[in-house]
């Protein structure tokens, strides 16, 4: 494999690992702290910027949590991909499953009351 292809591979790997890790963490905190970038009002079929209170019918924050986590993880991933290869060597591929798994367990813990009633 050429040096250029190696560099591209290393950058894609850095992006993938950092995106998976930061996305899981950012999504968890976006949900836990309600850092929704947008609020959707399904009854009105309207989006509002940031966290808004329900107007007519319920307010949905899930799309906002996805957007918040996606933007944060996207920026972190791109920055990681731009770093020199030696700076990203500490990124272990196992983080791509370990951190998301921890986030899933944390959600299970947060929502445990639904299964214990």
């Amino acid at each position: 494999m050429s040096a250029g292809a190696n560099l591209t591979t290393a950058r894609v790997a850095a992006f993938g690992i950092v995106f998976a890790v930061v996305y899981a963490v950012a999504y968890f905190f976006a949900v836990e702290q309600n850092w929704a970038l947008v609020t959707y009002h399904p009854q009105l079929v309207e989006f509002g910027f940031g966290v808004e209170k329900p107007r007519e019918g319920p307010a949905m924050y899930w799309f906002g949590w996805l957007a918040t986590a996606g933007i944060i993880a996207g920026i972190a991933g791109v920055l990681a991909a731009l770093l020199p290869e030696r700076a990203t060597r500490f990124l272990r591929p196992a983080l791509t499953w370990a951190v998301p798994l921890c986030a899933m367990l944390a959600f299970g813990w947060l929502l445990r009351a639904y299964f214990l009633r």
């Binding site: 591979t9 399904p42 591929p93």
Partner: protein, 151 residues
């Protein structure tokens, strides 16, 4: 309209479920000799060839699910709360979070299947995605059964 989307969402989910189950089985329990049995043939698929399809199916299923979710929030969730079906309710709450976390894993998953296997990472990432897909499929199916088709 939403009924059609729900059916398409379900069909895409079935395709995704089949593809990722094949891939996970082949990477977690690889066949060591020519497969003669049904389970052996199930595990002996060319797993790397599934990765692109799985990413596309996940994105399509996720997008359709996001559209249907608005209908769920208005018409189905209040009913589930009225029925006090808390386990099903909690399972669906987990579904939305698991689906989101799975989205975040897709770039790494795609990359891991583009290169030669390196340790157990690829197998574990695939297994975790398979778990998410199975959880989401079953919890969505249960919620759909509670609400009832066309009711």
């Amino acid at each position: 309209m939403f009924t059609v989307l729900l059916i398409v969402h379900g069909l895409l989910a079935v395709a995704l479920l089949g593809a990722i189950t094949h891939q996970a089985a082949s990477v977690l329990w690889p066949v060591t000799r020519p497969a003669g049995s049904f389970t052996g043939r199930f595990r002996s698929v060319a797993a790397p060839g599934y990765a692109n399809a799985i990413v596309l199916l996940y994105l399509a299923t996720f997008t359709l699910g996001g559209i249907i979710y608005t209908e769920y929030r208005i018409f189905v969730r209040p009913l589930v709360e009225d029925l006090r079906a808390w386990s099903a309710f909690g399972a669906f709450e987990l579904k939305e979070h698991f689906a989101a976390i799975g989205m975040g894993m897709l770039p790494a998953y795609w990359y891991l299947w583009r290169r030669p296997p390196d340790g157990r990472t690829r197998a574990v990432v695939t297994a975790l995605l398979a778990f998410i897909v199975w959880w989401n499929f079953l919890s969505g199916h249960i919620l759909n059964n509670i609400r009832g088709f066309g009711s």
